[in-house]
């Protein structure tokens, strides 16, 4: 018994045993389809996010307008994802400059930290109860996209909305394998550390724009 590990475990195992209590019933809220979407939008908007209802075909054009109104100069995107391809195809010469995150961060850090104005990612799902986006970054759509640029644009399909995190974990089978990183995002970065006064964009994005793709 000479390692700290063994000593700690030995002490814990020597402790008097108590029965593990049963987990009492508890059910997170459930919504019907229209209430689900309304709740998702309302919660996100309450957290200072902008939600736009779009279609699978028109979202790149809608995004172009939104970004133009904000005077956004460039946007980081994931060239190898279907959404990234659709974006690039419809961008064609107009709109903010597209910056492809197609190499390791070591070669892209400067762009992400100092140059990028915005970034577009997809979301694997959305949670109505808390107005949260479920992000599972991949090698094609890396983690820092939703974090470093001042504006984060997220695409989420209405059909992927769930009522609660508990439901998401269950229906998406999270327990059988988690990715390197999974993130729930419920608004832009914020702080209330100075006199409980809300301020946005302290380290992460100042703005969160959610494009909610309708079912049709």
């Amino acid at each position: 018994m000479n390692s700290p590990r063994e000593r700690i475990l030995a002490r814990l195992k020597a402790a008097p045993q108590t029965a593990a209590p049963l987990r009492p019933d508890w059910a997170p809220p459930a919504y019907d389809a229209s209430a689900r979407k309304a709740k998702f939008k309302a919660m996100l908007e309450a957290s200072h996010a902008d939600v736009h209802e779009v279609t699978a075909a028109d979202w790149p054009q809608r995004l172009k307008t939104i970004l133009a109104n904000k005077g956004v100069g460039n946007m980081v995107y994931a060239p190898a994802t279907p959404a990234g391809r659709q974006l690039a195809d419809s961008w064609a010469g107009s709109g903010p400059e597209l910056l492809a995150y197609d190499r390791p961060v070591e070669d892209f850090k400067e762009v992400l930290v100092a140059k990028a104005d915005a970034a577009l990612t997809t979301a694997r799902g959305g949670i109505a109860q808390t107005g949260s986006l479920v992000l599972w970054p991949t090698s094609d759509e890396p983690r820092l996209m939703s974090l470093l640029p001042p504006i984060h644009v997220a695409l989420v399909e209405e059909s992927s909305l769930t009522d609660s995190l508990a439901e998401t974990i269950r229906v998406q089978g999270w327990a059988s394998g988690m990715p390197t990183n999974a993130v729930l995002v419920s608004g832009p970065s914020k702080t209330a550390d100075i006199e409980q006064t809300l301020a946005y964009g302290v380290h992460g994005p100042k703005e969160l724009i959610v494009l909610l793709i309708g079912k049709d």
Binding site: P4, K13, A166, G177, T191, A192, V202
Partner: protein, 478 residues
Amino acid sequence: MAAEASKMEFGAKAHVALNDPKLRANFRRAMDGLMTKRAAQFADEAEWNALRARGAAARANALAKLPELLEQLEANCLRNGIHVHWAETTAEANAIVLGILEAAGARTVIKGKSMVTEEMHLNAHLEKHGITPVESDLGEYIIQLAGEAPSHIVMPCIHKNKTEIAELFHDKIEGQPYTENVDELTAAARAALRGAFAGADAGISGVNFAVAETGTLVLIENEGNGRLSTTLPPLHIAVTGIEKVLEKLDDVPPLLSLLPRSATGQPITTYVNMISSPRKEGEKDGPKAVHLVLLDNGRSRVHGDTELRDTLRCIRCAACMNHCPVYTRVGGHTYTFTYPGPIGKLLTPQIEGLDCAGDQPHASTLCRACADVCPVQIPIPDLLVRLRTESVRPTQGQAVKGAGSSATTSETLGWKGWTLLYASPLVYRIGTKMLGWFGNLMPSSAPMLKQWTSVRTKPKFAPKSLHELAREKGYCDE
């Protein structure tokens, strides 16, 4: 940290804090706000009761199976490529973190908010060895600039108002003009810390929940600094107390619903960050190595007592301190140690010893506000009473560290005398007679009376006892 008995200074510090109108105003404003926001979150009594029962059960479950779950967590982390380290003491944990950093040649470290690293005094340790830690949570950054310790476990700089912060930034951040505008102050911190994030050789974070089933570290935050600290630098070291483990992913949602709602009245934090492995082949960002340091520091001893074990259910939401009539008036620094408020006065003496922090369980009115709001149903007042008892009369076998240390010879003798007095009718009669005759001659500065009479009038002994008066009236006392 080996702390000495001289740390028993709550009373003296409380006195100073109570006479500091600025400090009291800062806390009052903040605590009133947090209490109102929390109350709005739990307006539905039935939902609150069902949720906290589930949350408490999830935590109690983890503690009942703690050694097995830690082994499972370790196995799953290792399988996922996360290195796992065990530390019995804060000194060991500091040495482990330093060793990892030195092996990687790291010189600067960016830190997400972590109370465990405060418990370890990790920053001081790293600085001593030439490594620069930069706190990135805005509140932590502010107190690091000021050279202070956190005064609250969720809102570390709650003791400061914006005038103080404006002066601090103007003073410490190069080129920063004086401004009390919160957006401008926040932007100044963002600008100052961007470079620190980009240049950091490593990131250090705490952990809110460690899920044994999948080997996942769950971290919650609002600012994004936690995600940055755990994503941008090439190396991530997560430090956690051994009690933070959960059995299953299914235990996360109820606790995640309880924690931010209890802490700041938010339905959820802006970010819930779940880390299960370092950067995999082909992935473009994320740290190339992730280390998990499991710190005991007295927790396994707390776990050994089935009653006090409940202390370890804590999810560090700070609701108990926000609602504590003592904490809200004296502030966090009065508690000297890392964890203030009700959870602090319960946890600290168990970790540091009753001989060292034995005054803390007494810093409570036992009003039960903490127990009412605790999302995992820790019976804090009952456990405080247990610690008070332990400090003078240790339990056989399961003694708390430093148990019995408050027992004094004069008090022990006093109680022995008391027992004697009440056990024998003759001695009792003689005793009360003597007090009736001579008690009023005792000056209020007499050794046994001095402390009592410093804030109270000296009791006046009646010439005749109740027994005698009753007997004179013809009542029979046999």
